[in-house]
Amino acid sequence: MELLNQVTQFVISGLATGAIYALIGLSFAIIFNSTGILNFAQGEFVMLGGVLTIFCLNVLQLPLLAAIAAAVAGTTVIGLVFERLAIRPLKNATPLALIIITIGASILIRGLVMLLWGKDTQALPAFSGNDPISVAGATLLPQHLWIFGVTILVIVGCRLFFHHTISGKAMRACSFNPRAANLVGISVGRMILLSFVLSAAVGSLAGVIIAPLTMTAYDVGVMLGLKGFCAAIMGGMGSGLGTVLGGLILGTLESLGAGLISSGYKDAIAFFILLLILFLRPQGLFKKGETERV
């Protein structure tokens, strides 16, 4: 019984962490799908979400909801500026060069945040209290419910956007074949911009909803970004259910591994899975292998 309770707790904690990885993974996939770039500044969007919310809340004295909206909007603008200044001007650069640019951008953003807001870790108050909720012998916080809720909303939203709106379909078209998309009158440049905007918004939202649990500082983005990347790889870089499942599986395995095997191997487990998938199933866990027609 005791063991069962423990395992339930591990799984619930893991799912909560996994939901965050899924959100971040999703924001990775959005950009990858329309540009072929892995945006390593993704973790920084997550960090900006949390840091800006705390700034709006404490310094500008906005109410929580307005602070969150302002932080997400702010990060989105940063995503937009980033695309305009660093990605757009290099039209013919190879994806590798662009990826390196995103790494540079992540270092820049981290450095600026450190100079502007200092190096201290800061906490955001929980959205609806800190009283634990008991579920089947395990406990979770109201904030976890927020995380699950927001994650589900974002996933449903993404699904609707990518499959049922013109812009979403146009973005998918760009990911399949930018030249053909261009020929049928889709502005590829605009779609790339849109993907950065969306991705920054989703990433920062993830940053906001975890800040009450995990606290935030200028350097939290690195690890979260990597874990989100892991989730996206597991899902085969799709912007759908695959990435979400990837994130949830990753979170659960980490938590089970830390609890049942050894906590020292927690990160090792995540990156071992990443390597394993890159070796064995580079197309992701849930995708069929793609055949390229010549």
């Binding site: 707790q9 906490a123 800190n130 649990l213 690195v222």
Partner: protein
């Protein structure tokens, strides 16, 4: 004619410059602090404190009429950089003594350089290996981890608790604490039932705590620096962990209470006396130094002085007294430092000797508990 004029002018200016330099001849002191990077929570208050004190000493006329010149470099918590900068201080800047570095890793890396050059170093890091075994020119001001561990174990023994769980961060600070926790367990009759770790950037420790909840441990000891322990405090509250939670001196600042919020209530930790300076009895030898440090720091930086800044306070003040007694040469300072007795600083009462370059006893730590978002002494 023009050439002659030039020569005369050059000779004249160089003469002026050299006499000017001779008249002022400040005593050069080097400082290596991790002002940026992961250990910046140590380096920043240390740098602030050292600069504040040096300015204060200079304003008061310096040491025996000679001003101090503090040359500070930022190691970024990177041992390779620390080595380069230590070389720079010794060879280019020709300092007579060095304060810092902030972390144990940086300190161990620069020891060979100062030993070879014979420049006294007063490290502000806690690792006991810095001064054990004793090195000729290396001293330190931060309290050993071993003393903090002993303080916690003493309290547990007093409460007749012997089954413990430890949860340590997987970096230098945590692994050094873990070593000490395990090494001293037998001496205090402690039985470690669960030995877990977490990563410095981990965001959820419920897995480890669930495991601990399932063991028969009577207390949890967590060894880490912010923000990990604050996450652990919150997770423990979420899980409804009933047993007492002990933290290390690594989180003994108000920041921890701020981060952990309500979850901090009831948590105990060993701390330097600076946190509870106003609660100390008048008879306490350190009280005067502590209050002076806290007041100065508050005036200069509008922030609360913590015991990290205190390490630098101790280093500068020890150095000042050593220069007063032994003269401003590396050898003189070294010998005078070693002869320091009963120096009541921020970290404790220092008694250096040929066999002990750490200089502190167990009384350097007090055990405090968080009550109503403030510290209370545990008797």
């Amino acid at each position: 004619m023009k050439k002659l004029l030039c020569t005369v002018f050059a000779a004249f200016t160089s003469l002026c410059l050299s006499t000017a330099a001779f008249a002022a001849a400040p005593i050069k002191i080097g400082a290596l602090f991790a002002v940026t990077g992961p250990a910046s929570f140590l380096g920043e208050p240390e740098r602030n404190t050292a600069q504040m004190l040096v300015d204060k000493i200079n304003k008061g006329g310096g040491i025996k009429g000679r001003k101090l010149e503090l040359i500070t470099y930022d190691t970024g918590g990177d041992a390779t950089k620390a080595v380069q900068l230590a070389n720079k201080l010794v060879k280019n800047d020709q300092v007579v003594a060095i304060i810092g570095p902030s972390t144990t890793g940086d300190s161990m890396a620069v020891i060979p350089i100062v030993e070879k050059a014979g420049i006294p170093l007063i490290a502000c890091a806690a690792g006991s290996k810095i001064t054990d075994p004793v090195k000729k020119s290396v001293f330190k001001t931060a309290q050993n981890d071993a003393l903090a561990v002993a303080r916690i174990y003493e309290q547990l023994k007093k409460e007749k608790k012997s089954r413990i769980a430890i949860l340590t961060v997987s970096d230098g600070f945590g692994s050094s604490g873990r070593e000490q926790l395990k090494a001293q367990a037998a001496a205090y009759g402690m039985q470690i039932l669960s030995d877990d770790t977490y990563g410095p950037k981990d965001t959820d420790m419920t897995a480890q705590l669930t495991k601990i909840r399932g063991s028969r441990a009577q207390a949890v000891i967590c060894w880490g620096t912010n923000p990990g322990p604050a996450v652990i405090a919150r997770n423990a509250k979420q899980l409804g962990l009933q047993i007492p939670l002990y933290m290390s001196h690594g989180v003994s600042s108000k920041k921890f209470i701020e981060l952990a919020g309500d979850a901090a209530e009831g948590i105990r930790l060993p701390s330097g006396k600076v946190l509870v300076a106003d609660l100390l009895p008048k008879s306490d030898k350190q009280k005067a130094s502590l209050l002076a440090f806290i007041k100065d720091y508050q005036n200069h930086f509008k922030a609360e002085g913590d015991h990290f800044g205190g390490h630098a306070w101790d280093a500068v003040m020890l150095l000042r007294s050593a220069i007063e007694r032994g003269g401003a040469t590396p050898a003189g300072i070294r010998n005078a430092l070693e002869a320091t007795r009963n120096f009541a600083g921020i970290g404790g009462v220092f008694n250096y000797s040929a066999k002990d370059h750490a200089g502190l006893g167990k009384d350097a730590f007090v055990l405090v508990e968080v009550r109503n978002k403030d510290w209370k002494l545990v008797k």
